[in-house]
Symmetry: C2
Subunit: 231 residues, 2 copies
């Protein structure tokens, strides 16, 4: 939708990868619609995933009893977070839609993307007390996961060896993005591209492109336990 | 139990933290029993959480179509994984018990520990096809999570604001550690140390010490969906 702002947080190191193809069509399709698209390419930026004292510029309020969460909260309020965090928070602030593009690693995000969440979504910026779940500070934004898997759709079905994929998304979609106030769009799961034919891969890219064409009309999921675990 | 080998994977940067206290009593108690205890102190080692081409020494088998999982599998078989990965895999090999000590970040592990799993548990070493879940290559080992939370036990109960904490552990305990063949001991959850009194914190450390005294007699959980999500 023209004028909408999208931040794509992208976690794959290879420009020739299937994840890169999915990211590229998202940039193209959303730009074609007139959206303003920004990409955080985590590997290209060599993004720092570790939460350390270096994230806070200047003197620490309590260096003897350093607590990352508390210190980051204070530093956010005082404008003393490190430049890379501030830059990402600015992009998040401006975005109407946060789109996470990643390969599933160990039934979750790659560490580099987990570190982005650990460092960017600090208290005061993304949530507060009060100010979480439906009242989270990112209220009004939408978020969507576009992920690839090693296993097939059958393996991630309720009767498959891994069980329903939705169970694995609870900590990310609900525990993190919904906690920060985002409304969650249904995930785009591209199953097992590595073991699919070129034709199947092309179909998955096309399906994503087609979905993006009407993404602004979509209703968010009801991001509560029944969506993940059934009634 | 005398002679048993324990690897503690520890993810907290501060020696004065509550996580450090829990790690320290585990080292003391298990050493007192005659166990051989090794600690991987992830922050002290500035452990690399990012999966990159640097993890593979020498020429890549298919640099044009680099796929981390495939390349790491080949490099493992050829003895060409980077030194830090090899050193950790050696420690895992020798361990009877893997003990993960960490503060919960975004309802999961800190990125630095996620990166340890992403990089150390490669195909060929920790799992294979076949060779996963009950036949995983780490079969015969036990694993336990000892974690601290921001929220209270009530908040992580089935009627609390976060829901049952077990749901959040599915990707880690089942999806990762059980997938690699480990038997899982019930997690040790120390709830909300930051907002507890000194007396309550002391009690939590003592409870952990007491549990460790008989940890070798414990039966693993039945690490399947009902433990996490109920019947």
């Amino acid at each position: 939708m023209a004028g909408k702002k999208v931040l794509i947080i992208y976690a794959h190191p290879e420009p020739g990868s299937f994840n890169a193809a999915l990211k590229n069509v998202a940039v193209d399709e959303l730009s074609k619609q007139g959206c303003v698209v920004t990409v955080t390419d985590l590997y290209a930026a060599n993004f720092e995933p570790r939460t350390t004292r270096k994230d806070i510029a200047g003197a620490l309020c309590d260096p003897e009893h350093f607590n990352y969460g508390v210190a980051a909260h204070h530093a956010y309020k005082d404008g003393r977070l490190s430049c890379d965090i501030v830059a990402e928070q600015q992009k998040v602030c401006e975005a109407d839609l946060l789109l996470f593009q990643f390969p599933m690693y160990w039934y979750s995000m790659p560490a580099i993307m987990k570190g982005w969440m650990d460092r960017i979504f600090c208290q005061g910026f993304a949530f507060d007390f009060p100010g979480f779940f439906d009242d989270g500070l990112l209220k009004g934004k939408r978020a969507i996961l576009s992920l690839t898997t090693g296993g097939t759709a059958e393996m991630f079905s309720s009767t498959g060896v891994n069980g329903d994929i939705r169970r694995f998304l609870w900590p990310i979609q609900h525990g993190t993005l919904h906690f920060c106030g985002c409304q969650i769009l249904a995930p785009q799961v591209s199953f097992a591209p590595d073991t699919s034919s070129q034709e199947e891969r092309t179909k998955m890219v096309e399906a994503w492109t087609q979905r993006l064409a009407t993404i602004w009309q979509e209703e968010p999921i009801v991001c509560e336990a029944p969506w993940y675990f059934g009634q």
